[in-house]
């Protein structure tokens, strides 16, 4: 009787172990589908576009001749838009998160705000584009400019930064806060001297992941009216602008028309000449590498900063 029980038990364990292996395989398969697809796409892109990635490609304006065309105005546009996005989104996002986590009273109002922030992270980006078209382009009259695009993308990534910052603040033990208070620190001293320092890794990760999302966004930028053909750069502050013969003001570049990398790529994809498709692939490589580099930086920063914090 006992022997058969043992046999049954063993059979059952063996059976469960088989399930275990099976599940592992299914999981591996699920992972590989994503990774392999991305890898194949990327390799295909590199094979198509790699020969076009020359120095000239980065220093030339778009042109009707595919071999002479480059992404100068597009990458400069992307960098400047990202700059505006960062300057607008970081203080707003981090500030809102600190307030919600450390200062705000816990009542239905803050609950409502919290639910809204989480929901905003899932709103399709085109909706932000439409909002920005009405608010920044028409009501505030910023025009179809770098400023408008930067602020639009800042709105888009604000929820990402708020959520990441709050998570990061929450992971700091309450004891740290109490210890700071016990030594006579005010709330602001506690936040600035302790919480911000310890949560910097998480906050930076959130910011960079948000920015990496913004760099590839096309829909909201098209909605606000980014242009496709731009063969000039925004005015550099205090240099002579050839179109006006006057020195440019320090913030004139904010109101300059612009284009960004994804839009330049989109334009080339739909052209009949095969040479333009190679340009599109090369632009795709630049976007993917920029995104990967930013995500890599986020991981590295998190690792470095966490290494020095022990509790």
């Amino acid at each position: 009787m006992q022997a058969t029980d043992l046999q049954l038990l063993r059979a059952m364990i063996a059976q469960h172990k088989r399930y275990d292996i099976l599940f592992g395989l299914v999981g591996l398969l699920a992972t590989m589908v994503g990774v392999v697809t991305l890898l194949v796409l990327f390799i295909d892109l590199v094979l198509d576009g790699y020969p076009r990635l020359t120095y000239d490609f980065f220093t030339s304006f778009p042109s009707r001749r595919a071999e002479e065309a480059g992404i100068l105005s597009a990458w400069v546009g992307t960098v400047l838009v990202m700059l505006v996005t960062a300057v607008a989104a970081i203080p707003l996002g981090v500030g809102a998160a600190i307030y919600l986590e450390e200062y705000a009273p816990k009542n239905w109002m803050t609950d409502l705000i919290e639910i809204n922030v989480t929901n905003l992270a899932g709103v399709p980006s085109i909706v932000y584009g439409l909002l920005a078209l009405g608010l920044f382009v028409y009501i505030l009259d910023f025009g179809q400019s770098i400023l408008t695009a930067g602020l639009t993308l800042a709105l888009l990534i604000l929820p990402v930064i708020i959520v990441a910052t709050r998570e990061s603040l929450r992971s700091i033990p309450v004891a740290i806060r109490e210890a700071a208070y016990a030594l006579g620190a005010t709330r602001w001293q506690m936040v600035s001297d302790h919480l911000l320092r310890y949560s910097m890794g998480g906050i930076l990760t959130g910011i960079i992941i948000g920015m990496a999302r913004a760099i590839g966004e096309t829909a909201p930028i098209i909605t606000i009216g980014a242009l496709t053909f731009i063969a000039f750069l925004p005015p550099v502050p205090f240099t002579i602008d050839p179109s006006t013969d006057l020195p440019a003001g320090p913030f004139d570049w904010l109101f300059s028309p612009f284009t960004v990398l994804p839009i330049q790529m989109f334009n080339w994809v739909s052209r009949p000449q095969a040479a333009f498709l190679e340009n599109a692939a090369a632009t795709g490589i630049v976007i993917i590498v920029a995104t990967l580099a930013m995500n890599g930086l986020a991981i590295w920063l998190r690792y470095r900063i966490r290494k020095h914090i022990k509790w």
Partner: protein, 336 residues
């Protein structure tokens, strides 16, 4: 809270005011803003590129793509100086412009020849009549016409697979106008794509497929596709789409002029006027370079004269016409 207005606080306020003043939007002198059709875009891009080189950056030109309709929306709000259009302005758009007090010049800049293409291995369809194309694409064909032998008895018994540009494109509007007889009237059960490269691949892979798009896409894919000659009716000669046949005006009814519309008020700005003059002088050569068909030389001369006279309005009166010569259009009385 601000009991002591410290010098530091005052400085912060001053800096804020200063930043506000500096941030105030500046008017963009020397900027020519263009938007509209993706079909006209390659020509305008080429002209903008050459023009900016010729004035050494003194004038900045921006070109956007929001489709003929989207372009007119911005144009009639006064947001752009020039609108690219692959079809004449519609009645509704004329009314919008009128309401906003915007008058405009209509200038044809090139021809586009819509090209009907089939697979390389298609040995039977060398030429098609307008009536046969209508039988394929008209709304009544939906679900009923799906075999080549329904089009002509001598065609093989083979499924007929159709492709067409998206319903927002001026190309679709013009084809339906010219073939079916009514703009935007077409069967719905075809492969429809805003990206003509998708149609190229569709026809390239399927022996029984047929689609249409601009001549430039055919010229680039000549080795993969076969163009079909078009006959107005059974008795007229079959004409192959090409630069020559379109330029001579014998590739009918599928060749169409494409336009730029210029805001008359913007023309007071010497930069815009300079750009438009440059466009009409060099646009023909550049259009050929990017795969389109240039207008007869006389049409550009007439257009330049209209520009000089400041002749506003459209020659069409709100709907596309098939088979009118460009010279005739340019000499018509303009309607606003």
């Amino acid at each position: 809270m601000f009991k002591h207005t410290s010098p530091r606080f005052k400085m912060t306020v001053m800096a804020g005011v200063l930043a506000g003043a500096l941030l105030a939007p500046v008017a963009h002198a020397g900027l020519v803003k263009i938007d509209g059709s993706s079909t006209v875009y390659p020509i305008t891009e080429a002209v903008a590129e050459e023009f900016q080189k010729s004035v050494k950056g003194k004038t900045k030109v921006t070109v956007g793509i929001s489709g003929t309709g989207g372009g007119f929306k911005k144009f009639c709000r006064g947001e752009t100086d020039i609108s690219n259009a692959s079809r004449p302005i519609l009645k509704k758009e004329m009314d919008d412009c009128k309401a906003a007090g915007i008058t405009y010049l209509e200038l044809p800049v090139a021809f586009d020849a819509l090209t009907v293409v089939v697979n390389k291995d298609n040995t039977w369809a060398n030429e098609l009549t307008v009536a046969e194309l209508k039988k394929m694409y008209e709304p009544a064909a939906q679900g009923k016409i799906n075999n080549w032998n329904q089009i002509r008895a001598s065609f093989p018994n083979m499924p007929l697979k159709l492709g067409a540009p998206g319903a927002d494109s001026g190309t679709f509007d013009y084809f339906t106008e010219a073939i079916v007889g009514k703009a935007k009237s077409a069967r719905g059960d075809v492969l429809s794509s805003e990206d003509d490269n998708v149609l190229v691949q569709f026809v390239q892979r399927d022996k029984s497929a047929l689609a249409y798009f601009g001549l430039a896409y055919y010229e680039e894919n000549k080795d993969k596709l076969k163009a079909v000659a078009i006959k107005m009716d059974d008795k007229s000669p079959a004409v192959m789409p090409s630069v020559e046949t379109t330029n001579k005006g014998i590739y009918q009814p599928l060749s169409r002029p494409i336009f730029i519309y210029v805001n008359a008020k913007s023309l007071q700005n010497p930069e815009v006027r300079g750009f438009v003059e440059f466009y009409l002088k060099h646009g023909g050569k550049l259009a050929k370079e990017v795969g389109y068909v240039d207008l007869p030389a006389r049409a550009y001369t007439l257009a330049l004269e209209n520009l000089k006279k400041g002749k506003t309005g459209t020659a069409f009166g709100g709907h596309a016409e098939v088979g009118v010569s460009v010279e005739e259009l340019l000499q018509r009385e303009g309607k606003l």
